[in-house]
């Protein structure tokens, strides 16, 4: 395993003795196995070899495509009351039902508040949790008092479209929103170029009256679509905010746009006064650009969260009178008998009918070794069948499985997740109120001094103080940071996490799959004759090729297998076979003891043994290996003064084994998902917590933590609950994440300082009437450009 050379195709180390190559672009490149070689050869054959030239090595974890399920979405709302349909997304407990719904048109926390209020007042609704970041509603209701369709209608009435969540559904909504933003942005951009061009002509005083009026009408022609079409989102949000009796940033924005347009329109009609069409178009363009950046970051999040759907396989093989038949998992009933092939994920909870089976429950419990199951044992949905096809008797259908209860624990935790108070939201709330009050006072003041100037001064105040730079300050810095992290293989599902990170005090790690690799590798070995090591490895590789057991995996990569005859696989024990004329056995100590009753393990904690009928010839310790960079990361954590904690479902002894050399501050073992959640909530009392984990059992804690990180190789559920997904499998990414977060915070503060400083200077000038709306607009645009340029500094790649 010390071989330095890596497979050209998959970047895995090349096993000793393997000498495979593929000729790519005229050069022989090393390959680690026949699989990689076949793939690489196909790529070359198809003439696609420049794939290797251009592929992105940092983030090469390709997203699997999920076939969209065909669902008739045009059904009337009443259709959602059908029990058969509700079975798909509604969980019924006692006499209450609950479901997650996707909302369209939710842009801010105020929207979430509005829906929450509306539904709380709805008779029969027990509990509503609206999540503004995922744009989802989790609603619990009493089926006897109300129906789902009336809840949906009720949400509809406050101006939002809510539908039961289907994977493709919300992604499509985002796609529609994104496309409409591009259209609005495009029109605003084109129109602002045209109006600015015309405006330059209007700046010259020697323009004659007819041409001036002609230019005004031309500008109006270009501005009207921007006002009517591009600015719609601002008007809608402002209106929603006002109806929920709260002020959002869109209120002064809408006021400024409406004032400027109406006044210019009036001036054009009557041929008097001034026009400010270019203010309207530029203003709309800058604001839409900021919104679009925000939308993109959120859309990325949704794509990842939607992966949750592939967790439970939709089809199962059910035993019927006509043999095994494939049916939809959702149509399985308790007491049905189903069959699961090796490597498949178990779809429902059930009792094992086969004599014996091996299940990998690492995702559910954190236990890193496969569990032996005997006839009659409970098998949990979400675990993976390791060996031989097994038969199950269904006990719980999928909404009531252990897995489903973990999912609900996660959803609950997500609702209770501490909200990161965005600096921008906080600042802008007071800022908006102050602006409106100052504008009103300015108008009243000027009304007494010079009534004819009052309107234009107020307009200048509104435009000059527009929170444009303020509203761009955070989103631009965030998207800069998010985009650079993405380039280095760190996917942020939630840009907010960057705001949460600098405050983190405690780091919680899961064990299996987080601090360790989550798969078996050979840690140490013993050979009866040292010279025969290579030979023994080749025999072991050959024998283990016959086994489906996960512990056999590392042996297959150990060496080039020798020729083998008469192989027998004895599930649960090992493999027997002939090499040449010699007979060999590989497997557990029990298996070897059948030949050598007095055999004793020659190597501490060895668990795989190779023997001939004459003697025990080799032993290996195969276990879950510590991640390469785990020690470095922990060292860095301690340097930074973080408190480091391990939360694992595995045994105390095994936790100690891993945590000891890493010098973690605290170790908590044998935890159920619920226990982990309670411990983490305890830590949160003392300060914000970062959780790093990958299993299904970590999903609730990941959702609850102030910030959470998972791996692309982890469970889908963990990915759904985490803020950050590390694509390249490097734990050291944590360090980069923290550094970038600190940098982003610095840039945001600089932006705020600039935007507020600028407004502080321009506001008194505008109130005093020294600044016309045109100069106000130019100042506002310059201010925005400075903020954007400052944020773009974050895009520069840096080495840590």
């Amino acid at each position: 395993m010390s071989n330095e050379e890596l497979c050209f195709h998959c970047f895995q180390p090349i096993p000793r003795g393997v000498d495979l190559t593929t000729t790519i672009d005229g050069e022989a490149q090393p390959m680690c196995c026949y699989g990689c070689q076949a793939v690489a050869e196909t790529i070359v054959e198809q003439g696609l070899s420049h794939f290797y030239k251009y592929r992105d090595i940092d983030g090469n974890q390709g997203q699997a495509l999920i076939p969209e399920e065909l669902v008739g979405l045009d059904e009337q709302l009443i259709a959602y009351d059908d029990a058969e349909i509700q079975k798909e997304f509604v969980l019924i407990q006692n006499d209450t039902s609950s479901a997650s719904l996707a909302v369209e048109g939710m842009t801010c926390a105020a929207c979430a508040w509005l829906i929450e209020r509306q539904l709380t007042n709805h008779a029969g609704v027990e509990k509503v949790v609206v999540n503004a970041t995922t744009d989802r509603i989790h609603v619990t209701w009493k089926a006897e008092n109300t129906s789902l369709s009336s809840i949906l209608k009720s949400i509809h009435r406050v101006g939002y479209k809510a539908l039961p969540f289907q994977q493709a559904d919300i992604e499509e909504q985002y796609e529609r929103q994104r496309r409409s933003y591009i259209r609005r942005l495009g029109i605003a951009g084109i129109a602002s170029m045209q109006t600015m061009m015309v405006a330059v002509g209007l700046y010259f005083d020697d323009i004659d009256a007819t041409t001036r009026l002609y230019f005004w009408w031309v500008s109006l022609l270009f501005t009207a679509p921007v006002f009517v079409y591009s600015c719609q989102p601002f008007f809608k949000n402002a209106w929603r905010g006002l109806r929920s009796k709260s002020l959002n940033m869109d209120v002064p924005v809408s006021l400024a746009i409406i004032f400027a347009f109406v006044a210019s329109f009036y001036a054009t009609l009557t041929d008097t006064g001034q026009v400010y069409y270019e203010c309207v178009t530029m203003f709309a363009f800058f604001l839409l650009a900021g919104r679009y950046l925000e939308l993109l970051a959120r859309q990325k999040a949704i794509t990842n969260a939607a992966n949750l759907m592939k967790l439970i396989p939709a089809i199962a093989e059910k035993q019927t009178d006509d043999g095994w038949q494939k049916i939809m998992v959702k149509h399985l009933e308790p007491d049905d008998v189903i069959q699961i092939r090796p490597g498949e994920t178990i779809p429902v909870d059930g009792l094992l009918l086969s004599e014996q089976g091996w299940c990998d429950e690492a995702q559910l419990t954190g236990e890193s070794r496969p569990i032996a199951k005997c006839s009659g044992d409970v098998i949990y949905a979400g675990s993976i069948n390791q060996e031989n096809p097994i038969r199950l008797q269904v006990t719980h259908t999928h909404q009531n499985t252990l897995l489903a209860s973990i999912i609900h624990l996660q959803d609950d935790a997500l609702g209770q997740k501490p909200r990161v108070v965005q600096l921008a939201d906080q600042v802008s709330k007071y800022f908006v109120l102050a602006t409106l009050i100052i504008a009103t006072i300015t108008y009243i003041g000027w009304h007494f001094v010079a009534p004819e100037k009052a309107f234009w001064t107020v307009l200048a105040v509104l435009v000059a103080t527009c929170p444009c730079a303020l509203s761009l300050a955070a989103p631009t810095a965030m998207s800069g940071a998010v985009s650079r992290l993405n380039q280095s293989g760190i996917l942020l599902k939630e840009a907010n996490v960057l705001a949460a990170l600098p405050a983190i005090k405690t780091l919680c790690f899961d064990k299996t799959g987080t601090l360790t690799e989550g798969r078996f590798s050979i840690l140490s070995q013993w050979n009866q004759c040292y010279e025969k090591q290579a030979e023994n490895e080749a025999i072991a590789a050959a024998l283990e090729f016959a086994s489906e057991h996960p512990i056999a995996q590392p042996f297959r990569r150990l060496a080039k297998p020798v020729e083998l005859k008469e192989v027998t696989n004895i599930p649960g024990l090992g493999v027997e076979g002939n090499v040449g004329h010699a007979n060999y056995r590989i497997g557990s100590l029990d298996f070897i003891k059948q030949w050598h009753p007095s055999a004793d393990s020659p190597l501490a904690q060895a668990n795989v043994f190779l023997a001939t009928p004459d003697a025990l010839i080799a032993a290996w310790r195969v276990d879950d290996e510590l991640r390469r960079d785990a020690a470095d990361v922990l060292k860095w954590c301690h340097e930074q003064g973080f408190r480091t904690v391990m939360l694992t479902g595995d045994s105390q002894e095994r936790a100690q084994e891993i945590a000891g050399p890493l010098e973690l501050d605290e170790i908590h073992a044998q935890l159920k998902p619920q226990d982990k959640l309670e411990l983490l909530r305890g830590f949160q009392q003392q300060g914000p917590v970062l959780m790093i984990g990958d299993g299904i059992n970590d999903a609730p804690v990941l959702a609850q933590a102030d910030a959470s990180i998972t791996f692309a190789s982890g469970s889908d559920l963990a990915q759904a609950g985490s803020d950050v997904v590390i694509l390249n499998g490097e734990l050291i990414a944590i360090r980069r994440l923290f550094n970038t977060a600190k940098q982003a915070r610095r840039v945001i503060r600089q932006n705020f300082a600039w935007a507020l400083g600028y407004n502080g200077i321009i506001l008194p000038l505008a109130v005093a009437g020294f600044i016309g709306p045109l100069w106000a607009m130019l100042g506002m645009s310059t201010s925005s450009l400075i903020v954007i340029s400052n944020s773009l500094r974050l895009l520069r790649r840096q080495n840590y």
Binding site: Q46, G47, L48, H50, Y54, R179, F222
Partner: protein
């Protein structure tokens, strides 16, 4: 100033054409993936042409 009376309407027509093109581009998904498509020019450069991937429905 006579030429302005011709050139400006021409500019308006051009803008309308640009907007129609923009809407068409958005509708047919030209903005769906701005990163990956950029690589096509490099990847499709040599070797046999692959069939274009399926159009986005709608």
């Amino acid at each position: 100033m006579e030429y302005l009376h011709i050139m400006v309407p021409v500019a308006v027509l051009i803008v309308i054409a640009i907007i129609i093109i923009l809407f068409w581009a958005v509708r047919t998904g030209q903005f769906d993936d701005l990163e990956r498509q950029g690589y096509n020019i490099l990847l499709d450069d040599e070797g046999p042409k692959k069939k274009p991937t399926e159009e986005q429905p709608k």
